[in-house]
């Protein structure tokens, strides 16, 4: 794909999509959205990057090692936060009872476990979308080339 217009437009628009995806993830406890939708937005920005530029430059942005760390780290982070509730003397995945600071509702840092889980899960969903796209397009490229 050697289209100048698509490259120019996507070069401008990809950072805005990524900022919007991060906004949806980070404000998951305040505004509509959350980890799954924000992660999908963040992942599709990298898909747009890889489609408008070539796959090699896109794959350099998120290597397989990085995606492995994000995949396993996201779900481990969720489980560790849940297990912290047990160590604190409450149930698995307890929010307030386990000592997480709820803060003032409406502020950027509030919600205790919700914000922490949303960040980890959002990065994991983004990594899932990107990795699935890359591996599918890699297999397709192999069979045709």
């Amino acid at each position: 794909m050697e289209d100048v217009i698509i490259r120019f437009i996507s070069r401008i628009i990809v950072p805005f999509i990524q900022v919007y995806g991060l906004y949806v993830i980070l404000h998951g406890h305040l505004t509509p959205g959350g980890s799954f939708s924000g992660g999908a937005v963040l992942g599709s920005s990298m898909i747009l990057f890889a489609l408008s530029f070539n796959l090699e430059r896109g794959a350099k942005k998120l290597t397989h090692d990085a995606s492995t760390v994000l995949e396993c780290g996201g779900i481990l982070w969720f489980t560790v936060l849940g297990l912290y509730g047990i160590f604190a003397g409450a149930n698995f995945l307890t929010n307030q009872g386990a000592g997480f600071n709820l803060g003032v509702p409406g502020q950027a840092v509030s919600g205790g476990i919700i914000m922490l889980v949303t960040i980890g899960l959002g990065l994991k969903v983004a990594s899932t979308v990107i990795t699935l796209f890359y591996s599918l397009i890699e297999v397709e490229g192999d069979s045709h080339g």
Partner: protein, 90 residues
């Protein structure tokens, strides 16, 4: 032949289970349905104080029903692991 009969029997069993479940389902939109209990009003009233989140959906997803969300994340993890192991095997 034996295998086809076995598969058909299994499918009939699964179909019977699904249909009998659907027949037993409550009437759609009936006010006495189990989905119309006091829980949704309780979420609206208490979610802000109990979880500190303005987004009630986020508070249900990650606080009240966090174990379900952990299952969803596990499904994503297993899906990507299965897809990668299948695709990279070529």
């Amino acid at each position: 032949m034996m295998r086809t009969v076995l598969i058909l029997l299994l499918l009939a069993l699964i179909g019977f289970t699904l249909v009998s479940t659907v027949v037993e389902m409550p009437t759609f939109g009936h006010p006495d349905n189990p989905t119309n209990n006091e829980l949704s009003q309780g979420f609206i009233d208490n979610a802000k104080e109990e979880t500190g989140a303005m987004n009630i959906i986020a508070s249900i997803l990650v606080d009240y029903r966090a174990f379900d969300t952990l299952g969803e994340a596990t499904v994503l993890f297993v899906a990507i692991a299965a897809a990668l192991s299948t695709l990279k095997a070529h």
